[in-house]
């Protein structure tokens, strides 16, 4: 290599500027779509650190695992009720007439390379998805993260939860095995129970009377396209709102209503969260490898006159099954019509109330407290005893009816009469939420009296100003953490933060660019 070529190379490199190729690409993109300013803000975006903030990440990443494994399954699964003879490698089913859907599902499990792993990963990821979503929702609820300005994002979250439950139920039904087919039968009967339009709803959705041949293709396209598409859009909206409104954070040193304290998007958060994506996928893979789930080849293809013992839906539907079991047989008949209240009340009205209560909670709480302020700092659950008690009672009720979905198994296991277990759950349905609510309320009040709970280390805050400069501030310790006299601190009913009306409010501190000011009583 001559000196001349080396010199030209160096010149070419120098011509690119101090940031090399990256700088060049940034320049070209910025010329066309203007990425420099927004991109820098994005890289510098601050994420507050708290373990509970990763619950939503688990949900997001299990959704990605679901899409990846779902695409694999869709390559082999055929949503058809046409009867075919099973000729795959699972000997006990040889020469049996089964539906094409069941045939392909069993073939995925035994004859497609990696198919069983993908099927079990998909099922486990679905359980992780719904489970983490519910726990994430509980976190949002108990810390008050749903308050203004985030009511809309909370609503989107609940809507996604509802869609996900239906998505899971439909996906569970696609293999057309004996257990899921029974679940579909129950779903059909629940639709039938709706007054006035029930039988029309059932035949229209199923495309005929049960078990219609039209239903599997319909549920398939809903499962693989329509619901995922809606979820995809809602996840986009959820994350856009999250970025726009910025993350909430717990109170602590240097953390105020007007700032976010944490680690930067790039590279810290990105590395941690990408690693987390890998670990969520790893959890699905390990569960899929070592924990058998839904062994459809043992159940057999669905036949309407066959059934097995201990018929239970997937766990996220279990709570509706539990209410169906403990409901008395109150069928209404009048004027030549029938209203099957024993089905309609527990399977339609009860879930309707549960989700409406969840959806309306921000409005209910705002009406009750009169609090219409912007909140960026999270509540500690003990500081809002009434909300915490209400939420605990709500979840206790759902756990109770979930338990009621295994009355027969419990009666068997504990050698009790089924009648005793049934009546126990009928009573617990009313008693458990009340007791849990009262006990939670009391525990919250007790915890408020304990001095120094939640004491934190003092640290130095690095401040990022709007022009990208940094400065450090030593934060004041939390008042709770200063060991002076052990006076129990009265907890304020609420902190009033008045919105800036016209930008001329002279009392607004200069350090508050969010347009809110804190009023101390």
């Amino acid at each position: 290599m001559s000196d001349a070529t080396a010199r030209t190379k160096r010149q070419a490199k120098e011509a690119l500027g101090p940031y090399g190729r990256v700088g060049q690409v940034v320049g070209e993109l910025d010329d066309r779509i203007g990425i420099a300013k927004g991109g820098r803000v994005f890289l510098d975006k601050i994420f507050p650190d708290h373990w509970s903030f990763m619950l939503g990440e688990i949900t997001l990443y299990s959704f990605i695992v679901l899409i990846a494994t779902g695409i694999f399954l869709a390559l082999y699964y055929v949503p058809s009720a046409t009867e075919v003879m099973y000729n795959g490698s699972y000997a006990p089913l040889h020469h049996q007439m089964v539906s094409e859907a069941y045939n392909t599902s069993v073939r995925i499990s035994f004859d497609v390379r990696g198919g069983l792993l993908m099927r079990q990963m998909h099922h486990w990821a679905a359980d992780i998805f719904t489970g983490s979503m519910i726990v994430h929702m509980a976190r949002i609820f108990f810390t008050g993260a749903f308050r203004k300005p985030r009511e809309l994002n909370y609503t989107i979250g609940i809507v996604m939860l509802i869609i996900s439950i239906f998505e899971g139920f439909i996906g569970y039904s696609l293999p057309d095995d004996l257990i899921s087919g029974t679940g579909l039968r129950i779903g059909y009967s629940i639709l039938e129970s709706v007054p006035l339009v029930g039988s029309y709803l059932a035949t229209f959705i199923w495309g005929g009377t049960f078990p219609s041949n039209a239903v599997l293709p319909r549920f398939y396209i809903i499962h693989v396209l329509i619901f995922p598409l809606i979820l995809f859009g809602l996840i986009g909206a959820h994350l856009t709102l999250l970025v726009r409104q910025k993350h909430t954070q717990f109170a602590g040193e240097g953390r105020t209503e007007h700032n976010v304290v944490g680690s930067p998007m790039f590279p810290t958060f990105m590395a941690k969260t990408t690693g987390f994506l890998f670990m969520v996928a790893a959890a699905s893979a390990l569960l899929g490898a070592f924990a058998q789930i839904n062994p459809i080849w043992q159940f057999g293809s669905y036949l309407p006159y066959k059934i097995s013992y201990a018929v239970q839906p997937d766990w996220y539907m279990g709570w509706t099954d539990g209410v169906l079991r403990i409901m008395p047989s109150w069928e209404l008949t009048a004027f030549g019509h029938t209203i099957p209240l024993e089905v309609f009340l527990p399977a339609v009205i009860f879930p309707g109330l549960v989700f409406n209560l969840a959806l309306l909670w921000p409005a209910i709480e705002r009406r009750y407290t009169g609090d219409n302020e912007l909140h960026n700092l999270l509540d500690r659950p003990r500081d809002r005893p009434k909300r915490t008690a209400a939420g605990a009672a709500f979840f206790a009720l759902l756990f109770t009816v979930f338990g009621a979905s295994s009355t027969d198994v419990m009666a068997n296991y504990f050698h009790l009469s089924l009648n005793f277990v049934l009546w126990a759950f009928r009573i617990l349905f009313f008693v458990v939420p009340i007791v849990v609510g009262l006990v939670t309320y009391r525990i919250c009040l007790e915890m408020q009296g304990v001095h120094g709970v939640g004491k934190r280390k003092r640290s130095v805050i690095v401040h990022l100003s709007e022009d990208g400069a940094y400065s450090t501030v030593t934060a004041d310790p939390r008042p709770d953490d200063v060991r002076t006299e052990l006076h129990p601190q009265p907890v304020p009913e609420r902190i009033d933060i008045e919105p800036l009306v016209n930008g001329k409010d002279t009392e607004t501190p200069k350090s508050s660019p969010t347009g809110v000011r804190q009023v101390t009583r």
């Binding site: 390379r113 039968r185 910025k246 304290v261 070592f290 089924l418 400065s471």
Partner: protein, 316 residues
């Protein structure tokens, strides 16, 4: 604020370069070299596991090895990356101001004014056009939704009330074998279908019937059903009146039919009246007869709708 005021701790450089100057942009770990070594080992193990997964897939080894290697590989790579982020990347804590999302009163008023004034002008000046367009859109909405819904499926009609059972049709089991009056002994049970419908999935759902031979002593004949149970043969719809599951469990000692879904129990010896559980009604009884060849036949269809309740269901 000038730069000199906060000189010691202030850096006016982008974050990646600032690691050189600002301690808060440095490694979080106290001994970064050691941590780096550990993470490198984790990554190497992850690479090995991923390669092993490839080999397992290539060789079509069993799902345990496939999932074990894939899971281990993903976990090691993810764990390493997370640890890298946690211990070897800037932790701060950094602070970022929240920006006001709300605009000023003037901006809000400008938007409201634009919306109100322009729409008022447009609609008020052209009431006829607005009305016509609204009418057109409304009609489109109705005609678009209504037929779409309607073509999804057939109207229910009598499909929830009628089964394939007819006068004189023979009872056959799931293999199509007719039931002779000597086939069952007292206490035996078999699932039957109308002959010719045993393989049709629709028939299997609506027509499914349990045939039980009971002993005369225990049997209570219900008024109006005196001729429905010849030779101790009694037939009930197999569809549970609660949610339509097959009433598939037969408790011979107690003469109960039990639904495994929600544990409704029906008394076989007394018109299948529910004894327990959420089922609201007895299982409909199929009137039976015996034809000249000694085979069991139906006398007619069920006298009421089988299966769960629905709005149009009339009571008998």
């Amino acid at each position: 604020m000038s730069d000199t005021e906060h000189e010691p701790s202030r850096t006016r450089v982008p974050m990646p370069i600032a690691t050189l100057n600002d301690p808060h942009l440095g490694d979080a770990a106290k001994n970064p070299g050691r941590v780096e070594g550990i993470i490198a080992v984790v990554f190497v193990l992850g690479i090995i596991m991923m390669a092993a997964f490839g080999a397992a897939y290539w060789q079509n080894w069993n799902p345990w090895i496939l999932g074990g290697t894939l899971g281990a590989g993903l976990f090691l790579l993810g764990f390493g990356l997370t640890a890298w982020g946690k211990y070897l990347m800037p932790q701060g804590p950094f602070v970022e101001e929240r920006h006001v999302l709300a605009g000023s009163t003037a901006e809000r008023n400008a938007l409201s004014a634009a919306l109100v004034e322009r729409s008022t002008v447009v609609v008020k000046r052209r009431r006829l056009l607005g009305g016509l367009f609204a009418a057109g859109s409304g009609i489109f909405g109705i005609v678009a939704i209504f037929p779409l819904l309607r073509s999804l499926g057939p109207v229910p009609g009598t499909s929830f009330e009628k089964t394939d059972w007819r006068r004189g049709i023979r009872l056959v089991d799931s293999n199509g074998r007719p039931i002779h009056k000597d086939t069952l002994r007292a206490g035996n049970i078999v699932t039957v279908f109308p002959e010719g419908h045993q393989d049709d999935i629709q028939g299997q759902s609506m027509d499914q019937t349990v045939l039980i031979r009971v002993s005369y002593e225990a049997f209570t004949t219900i008024k109006g059903r005196e001729t429905w149970a010849p030779e101790g043969y009694v037939a009930y719809s197999k569809m549970c009146t609660h949610l339509g599951c097959p009433v598939g469990l037969y408790e011979q000692q107690l003469q109960l039919l039990v639904c495994p879904c929600h544990q409704s129990m029906f008394d076989v010896t007394n018109g299948a009246v529910p004894q327990f559980g959420p089922a609201p009604r007895p299982l409909p009884q199929l009137p039976l007869g015996i034809n000249s060849d000694g085979y069991l036949v139906a006398q007619s269809d069920y006298h009421e709708a089988v299966g769960p309740g629905f709005w149009e269901r009339t009571t008998t």
